[in-house]
Amino acid sequence: MTPRARAGFITLFLLPASALYALFVVIPVVQAFAFSLYRWRGISANRTFIGLENFQQLFNDPLVWRALSHNLLLFVGTSVVILTVSLALAHAVGAESALARFLRSVYLFPQVISLVVVAILWMFILNPSFGILNATLKAVGLKEWAITWLGNPYTALASIGVAHVWHALGFYIMLFAAALRTIPTDVMEAATLDGATGLVRLRYVTLPLLWAVLRIALVYMAIGTMNIFSLVFLMTQGGPDRATEVMLTYLYEQAFKHSEFGYATALAVVNFVLVMALSGAILTLFRHNPQEGRG
């Protein structure tokens, strides 16, 4: 087959999928950019072109900034926890022991549970009246610690973060466990023979070899927390008093409760750009493995 015919053949096979992707992904995204320039209630075909007014309003809307800061807080907080815990557990599941076998069989459970169920489960755990968390705290004599986790503006966001971590952890354990297996055993053995064990080996051998995976994991975490919706919507509705409002719950409120579809679309566009920018920033910042090229 000539290269030309080969290219034609490939194009032929790519065409149907590309057409569907264009129809259901590319065109709606482009449309969204267009709708963000209109005042539109989203209930009739009437739209008024208002240029960049929605974006102007958005930058002056303190609630957008507040929601965005919650997204970023969730990103920073949960990614630190997820990274450390999932790396440790990824090590643990790779070992040969009864505990490792047990961990291997359960660590993906939270990941396969629907988010709605995760939300309800955590609402039960955190329930101030009959929840297991407060019951445990009271049982061990920490009565003052037994608070209204989801009703308190200082703990509500963190509580959602915990539920998010619990749900997401399995995926990252899987990712890191798989990456750990790709590290050749002779490298590890050599490091051990040279006296690098424990944290030293983790820092100078394991982490550099996992660098590419860590970078991708961070991008996933950024996307996951910037687009968080279900957990917040179900557990707190963005409350109390906006303490857990995030970009997408605010977008939902604008679109479906306030019939501000143009404004909501502008929010979606901004969120899209932010996710892209954050992912790009992560990829750039972590482009060079700091351990590479060292003498």
């Binding site: 005042r39 209630r41 989203g42 209930i43 009739s44 075909a45 009437n46 609402m123 955190l126 329930n127 101030p128 009246s129 209204t148 986790w149 989801l150 009703g151 308190n152 503006p153 509500a156 707190t236 509705q237 409350g239 109390p240 008093d241 906006r242 409120e253 479906f256 409760k257 306030h258 019939s259």
Partner: protein, 442 residues
């Protein structure tokens, strides 16, 4: 002979086709699409009504469909200009946006025509006037009520009887009772903290009305400057704050959703809860056998200016889309559904109150007897309309109420926040404004 045979055949053909044509004229097949919100009362009643109507009107075909998120499916249909003929889009639909966009028709012409199956009288007069008044914008009626809910407090009847407690009618009775309940180790009052709308209509508004009279609330809804920070609203906020400081609200209630708080109530860990008349049907699957709940109005101030019989109500309206294909039939079917006979059936089958006058003469389930009495006695009726008219103001009132209940802001800061939100709504020229004119209520 041959010519005669042909003549016969032609005659027969003409006769047969004449019969076919006239049959067609007598029974034109027309169809109707009715899209309904499928909430706690289901849509089986409307489906049944459709089958009955089809029997009464041969040739008519009615398709009734619905689900619990029907408003999400209806939005694109409205945008595409292809809505159903008649719809009950449910609480998730921004009803007034449909009105502003000309997507639903004014119904006054039809309301002035006779009711179903009658040759005289006005359909309008068969509705509770206070409920019909909620469906108007700039003097025209765009929606129609069906069933309605009443807002108030529920108390645990057995717990009250066992302890010799009486449902409190006044603020001082409430405080005295709460102290006794608390002493028993039971939370006096719980509430659905994640959805502060319950606390707004269960505490804030009834107490503002009690303190300042119904004008205090009407003015607030009509965005009269200063109305949201009037002494009436400040007093109501102080009352909420006092209950919080005295520890009469259940600990942790501000972190509970509606199901969570309502479970606390029916499991006996809390004695009272603000909720609408839907509470019984919402919780019926988890109600302990023989659980008895009593309905009462929120206790009023001992020397309050407001009418102590004032009661809050809420409707979920029906409407006729402008671009529906069969307007007349849609109206006639809705007239059938709102006939006194059907209204009474709805009350009996679904256990809720109906907007049709005289339907309260039906056989009520036990838990509705007290609400019916309260409604019959009520001289003033109010409804939270600003939340539908101005969703942003509604959201801010709810957020501020959550903050007040959590003790994060003072009553003074609370009313300032409400007034600021009202001012923002007043100044926003993109928000169409409503005025509620209070007629003779009952």
């Amino acid at each position: 002979m041959k010519a005669g045979r042909y003549a016969l055949i032609v005659t027969v053909l003409i006769a047969v086709s004449a019969v076919i044509v006239s049959c067609g004229r007598q029974q034109p097949t027309s169809s109707l699409e009715v899209a309904c919100f499928k909430g706690g009362y289901g849509i089986d009643f409307f489906e049944q009504a459709a089958r009955e109507y089809e029997k009464l009107h041969p040739g008519v075909k009615i398709k009734v469909w619905g689900n619990p998120r029907v408003w999400e499916q209806l939005r694109p249909r409205f945008v595409a200009g292809n809505p159903p003929d008649l719809t009950y889009p449910g609480w998730g639909m921004d009803h007034w946006a449909l009105v502003y966009e000309g997507q639903v028709i004014p119904l006054d012409e039809y309301l002035d025509s006779p009711p179903y199956g009658k040759s005289e009288g006005k359909w309008r007069d068969t509705f509770e006037p206070s409920l019909l008044a909620l469906c108007q914008y700039q003097g025209k009626t765009y929606m129609l009520p069906y069933f309605f809910s009443m807002l108030g407090w529920w108390y645990n009847k057995d717990m009250f009887e066992k302890n010799g407690w009486k449902p409190p009618r006044t603020w001082s009775e409430l405080l005295a009772l709460c102290e006794k309940i608390k002493a028993k180790g039971i939370a006096p009052i719980t509430y659905q903290g994640i959805y502060p709308a319950y606390a707004v209509s269960g505490f804030l508004i009834p107490w503002a009305i009690s303190a300042g009279g119904i004008e205090a609330f009407d003015n607030a809804q009509n965005l009269v400057p200063g109305a949201w920070k009037s002494p009436a609203f400040l007093k109501a906020a102080q009352m909420i704050d006092e209950l919080r400081r005295r520890g009469y609200f259940q600990e942790g209630a501000n972190g509970m959703d509606h199901t969570g708080a309502q479970m606390e109530f029916i499991s006996g860990r809390a004695a009272m809860i603000p909720c609408g008349t839907w509470l019984h049907s919402e919780m019926r699957n988890v109600l302990p056998p023989n659980f008895r709940m009593g309905f009462m109005l929120p206790p009023v101030l001992d020397d309050g200016k407001g009418d102590p019989t004032a009661v809050g109500i809420g409707i979920e309206p029906w409407m006729v889309p402008t671009k529906g294909k069969n307007r007349e039939l849609a109206i006639d079917f809705y007239k059938y559904m709102t006939s006194l006979e059907k209204a009474k059936q709805f009350v009996e089958q679904k256990g809720t109150l109906m907007s049709i006058r005289g339907s309260d003469q039906a056989n009520y389930p036990e838990h509705l007897k007290e609400p019916v009495e309260v409604f019959r006695r009520a001289k003033t009726v109010w409804s939270v309309e600003y939340r539908q008219w101005y969703p942003k103001l509604g959201k801010e009132v709810e957020d501020a109420t959550a903050a007040l209940l959590a003790g994060n802001i003072t009553p003074e800061q609370f009313v300032e926040r409400l007034e600021r939100a009202a001012e923002a709504t007043r100044q926003d020229k993109n928000i169409p404004k409503h005025t509620y004119t209070r007629g003779k209520d009952r």
